[in-house]
Symmetry: C2
Subunit: 75 residues, 2 copies
């Protein structure tokens, strides 16, 4: 089945990529956007969705500085 | 309000990062995972969610090789 892992920098961790996006926006004419955080999105097919949190901790995310969220599509 | 932009490589576009994850998995003891695609996740606060698709096309995603999806949290 299909699953998605959403990985974001933890609250309070510096996110230079997000800051760069935030600073670029006014120059492009977009106002009123704040708190931009850039993370990663991993899509995959798996037979064993219960293994995903452990997979995230070991390979996909760095649990020291990143939070992750697993979404499984039950179809 | 809070919004999330999910950016993934288009179908058919080579995704070396996804391939690298896929190859690393068996060595870590995870079997049965396939079609790994690695994209980006952008979280932000905005006053004007209608501007997000245009913002994605101009700054966050590369529409030639990436698809994006906008999720707005109406709270």
């Amino acid at each position: 089945m299909k699953a998605r892992v959403l990985i974001t920098p933890k609250e309070g961790i510096l996110d230079p990529q997000g800051k760069a996006v935030e600073r670029a926006l006014p120059a492009l004419g977009f106002e009123g956007v704040s708190n931009v955080r850039v993370g990663r999105l991993v899509e995959l097919d798996t037979n064993d969705p219960d293994a995903l949190p452990s997979l995230c901790e070991k390979l996909l995310a760095n649990p020291l500085v990143e939070d992750f969220e697993v979404e499984v599509d039950e179809k």
